[in-house]
Amino acid sequence: MSNSWIIEVENLTKRYAGNTAVEGITFSVQRGEIVGFLGPNGAGKSTTMRILACFLPATSGTARVAGYDVFTQADAVRRRIGYMPENNPLHLDMRVREYLKFRARLKGLGIGRSRARVEVVMEQCGLTDVSRRIIGHLSKGYRQRVGLADALVHEPELIILDEPTIGLDPHQIRSVRQLIKDLARDHTVLISTHILSEVEMTCNRVLIMHRGKILAADTTQNLQNIMSDGGQVIAEIAAPVAELRACWEQMGEIEYFDIAPSDGEYHRCALTPRSGLDLRPLVFEQARMRGWALRELSRAHHSLEDIFVHITRPDREEETR
């Protein structure tokens, strides 16, 4: 086991009576990464996280965290993990500082150490002002911070957050995301979500899960490149349709094109090249030569949403088999 891998999962399968939640997944996470677990509800994200946090056993397969097996060395793993479950359950009757201190002590920190750590994480998560408030009286955004502070309090190597921004308002989502980004400086973070933009914004690697399987695992950048492999170019040009059609037909580099009217005399052309070629200079050259007005020229940008829809499309499963 190499030391740079913090999570190594091999052939992990989890079956509940009658259905398979996770089916033979294999992945690994390097120290210092922020990895996003992406998938529709019921894809098996939470189950995988619960197994990694040693809450549930797997049916088969192995999982290691920081080199420790999650089944046989659960205690060592739990000490190294900060886990925030879905919906962030907290003891609502406790005060913030009291709760964090209680959690720190449970996680095996000494009295002095837990006192010091609680102050640090409260500062880090912006909880110092509410340290004496009862958790049940706090807003959802603050409660989420309490959950994060709890996950951090024992200085874990790995932080696992299950849907950390669910049910928050946009402002709270932003602040929680910023917090997660800040954490990533000295921790490895694994977060799950079904909100695509969230992964796009916070993570540097994505695992796309669907029906218990990992369908894609790559950096967000790479996934986008793979998708735009077609290299489709969008050009908005002010010219008659006939002229445009003639021009594109005569260009050997264009495999396929599509022209749609835009406002005024502009037309929106979607041009797909024959090979992985960049069409943009050629299109610009044509427009310049013919004296057309060109107001937009861009390579189609695929958001993670497109990738996600593309990958989890039902007919793709047949393709991959």
């Binding site: 509940y16 549930l56 739990r78 359950p89 009757d93 406790m94 002590r105 449970l106 709890d150």
Partner: protein, 252 residues
């Protein structure tokens, strides 16, 4: 050990951060008070001029048993069921604490609260001691042995309550289950309900499991090791079952 003590403190603390703990203590006090007045009436009516220790009178009142049978289900119902329901069970079980630490801490915390709720009994006894002309009826040894019996009884009923609570996510169901198990065990010792069979061995068994006979002995200042073994072994048995229920999430 550190985690265990932290959990015990938390468990005991839950009763006092909300009204529940105070409400339970208040109702125990009320029942104890009723039991006390009942006992005083009986003492005054006694033609033989109260020779027996007063704790014996205490144990024979209805309210006394009501407290014993009702408190345990009420104070144990939330122990596991509420944590499962609110989801904090998951955060608890993903910290580096072992299952037996959790079970034992919940048991100990609840038991400490139970003992706390019973402490006013000493107040009642002190009142009698202060005003009585017969010092024999208030004997420190019988008082201690009665309290010891009450604590043993509590151990058993609280371990049953923890077991019932670990089985479900609903506090109501937990309370009902533990009350029914507890009541069932208690009713076995009622002569009016269960006629003692003629067979010698059966009569022995019934007298061995008779909770009221145990309490009678304790109230007389009689600490029988058979009774102690009965309570301790059953407590250990139910705690063991609770531990298995907690572990059972790994079998699924």
């Amino acid at each position: 050990m550190r985690a265990y003590l932290t959990l015990v403190r938390r468990e005991l603390g839950t009763f006092f951060v909300s009204m529940t703990g105070y409400a339970i203590i208040a109702s125990v006090l009320l029942l104890l008070g009723l039991s006390f007045t009942d006992m005083l009436a009986k003492l005054n009516d006694d033609p033989h001029g109260a020779q027996a220790p007063m704790t014996e009178w205490f144990y024979s009142t209805l309210y006394f048993w009501l407290i014993l049978l009702l408190t345990a289900p009420v104070i144990t119902m939330r122990s596991f069921a509420f944590e499962k329901w609110s989801g904090t069970y998951e955060t608890l079980m993903t910290t580096p604490v072992s299952d037996w630490q959790v079970v034992l801490a919940k048991f100990t915390g609840t038991l400490l609260f139970y003992i706390l709720a019973w402490l006013p009994l000493f107040g009642c006894i002190a009142v009698v001691r202060y005003f009585t002309l017969e010092p024999t009826i208030v004997d420190p040894w019988t008082t201690a042995s009665t309290f010891f019996g009450i604590v043993l009884f509590g151990c058993l009923y609280i371990s049953m309550g923890c077991f019932a609570s670990a089985l479900t996510r609903s506090q109501i169901i937990a309370a009902m289950n533990s009350f029914v198990i507890g009541l069932g065990l208690f009713l076995l010792s009622l002569r009016q309900l269960v006629p003692v069979p003629s067979a010698d061995w059966a009569a022995k068994v019934f007298s061995y499991i008779s909770l009221s006979e145990h309490m009678e002995d304790f109230a007389r200042g009689f600490v029988d090791t058979r009774h102690v073994v009965f309570y301790v072994s059953l407590t250990v048995f139910f705690l063991f079952l609770t531990l298995k229920v907690v572990e059972s999430r790994r079998w699924k």
